[in-house]
Symmetry: C2
Subunit: 314 residues, 2 copies
Amino acid sequence: MSQSVFGIDVGGTTVKLGHFDQAGHLLDKWEIPTDTSDSGRRILPDIAASVKARMNGRGEAAGVGIGVPGPVDQAGTVYKAVNLGWGVFNIAEMLGGLLGGIPVLAGNDANVAALGEMWQGGGAGYRNLVLVTLGTGVGGGIIRDGQILTGARGAAGEIGHTLVRDGETEVCNCGKKGCLEQYTSATGIARLARRKLAGTDRVSILRDQHISAKTVFDAVKEKDELAMEVAAEFGEILGRALAATANVVNPEAFVIGGGVSKAGNILFDYIVPYYNETVFHACREVAFELAILGNDAGIYGAAKLALDYGKTGS
Amino acid sequence: MSQSVFGIDVGGTTVKLGHFDQAGHLLDKWEIPTDTSDSGRRILPDIAASVKARMNGRGEAAGVGIGVPGPVDQAGTVYKAVNLGWGVFNIAEMLGGLLGGIPVLAGNDANVAALGEMWQGGGAGYRNLVLVTLGTGVGGGIIRDGQILTGARGAAGEIGHTLVRDGETEVCNCGKKGCLEQYTSATGIARLARRKLAGTDRVSILRDQHISAKTVFDAVKEKDELAMEVAAEFGEILGRALAATANVVNPEAFVIGGGVSKAGNILFDYIVPYYNETVFHACREVAFELAILGNDAGIYGAAKLALDYGKTGS
């Protein structure tokens, strides 16, 4: 056990922690609440205490990986994590200090989740992939040659806030209008459906029920025509955005995660035709996969960060 | 001289060759014609003969780098170079064989040019940048941590063929409609100007003269209103495309090259406002630079490929 690692995923309400052996087996996982009071200054001490409690009597850990909901560069500098109240500081140094000098590797949570899916998830077998998380928002993480593509300031892969439509009237969480997230997140899909329902009297099983990404794709599976039009609108916007992304990084695979991905392979029926129609021919050859680690992708990816450090020393 | 390297840039009509010392100084450069007859099978022997002639009596070269107008993966496999008549083959092995086993490193020409501009050009001082070449077409090359971002099949950075506008009636060279290249290449800018002139009777110094990207930006400098509207249309399309690219790879800098870049910094007056308006806030901080190596960017980048190989052994 002396060479185990910890993978940690810091969210706005809970911190997920995983204890892994050197072979990458998850030994144990648990959660602690995220204490965002007082600018989130108790979050790292709480994490350190929880990790130390698990280490007690089991020897040293080889390293800790941690995913953070904000941009993080390769040196471990966090450039604000608004949901946590964090400003700019070096999390690798701070958490490492709290843990008595154990190596700490940090990354953006979406990027770290992408690494997890590549390692033991829907992206297993690929070395160059893009994870697209369709949840409350739309996140992205890029893996290049088996490693996270960080970007200059840890903000690579933020495709959720790429402008995809002019004339949008509602404002995105980021403050702009017309972002990919506004149409292809779980909330975005529900919004597309509500808009379409409001603009027509046509019959649909979506009428008079709670509208969500789940009910929309359930209706698609029932061949509800209006729901299928919503899915086509979603698919056109996302397929084009993935094509634009492929032209930039030319991945082997796209892995689709987040709550929306529970709809399953039917998503690809709506995304892939638009992808193929718009992507540059040399970037066309790509696999579409579903993510499989769910909420554990972050702890897996964080553990992988720590294990890679142990192996390469870099 | 025994540790010199050669940087080679294969174009559709000429092959540019450069001889560099280990410190990266260009000792000599020259060109040979590109013989595309017979599926381009004489191109590599011609290059090998030219390199050998320069090496004669000056000892061995440490390596050769070569840029190719087509996708090339990290192992040196070319996936077709249509302009040369080439199919799929490993150029590193073939040219290395013709040169008696000297290491040969190969890359896509736009990617290699980006490496050159990072090394000794407009991108000097940056380790993460995107070179955008606005010439007859629009090419792109991405440098990440000082190295080319190749992608799964050497097609990373092909932003010229990203769909940016619906409803386009003319067909792009790639076979699709509405590509970035159709509006922001030298020919694309001229096309925007001709369309605008045809749709109005307004006075413009562009009327009744040859329309090119150069005459358009010359007219912009004269404050010609119609030309400024063309520049704004160009800037909006390119600024948005660069913002989308920044959201994917989060570079430190964009370096603008190609014939259009001769217009100078005035380009940025039209690109940057649209970039800032649409980019995700965490990716906003970026420098805009002009390329400075011109047609030599390819031989510089190719030489850098060879020198990096010599240094790292990987």
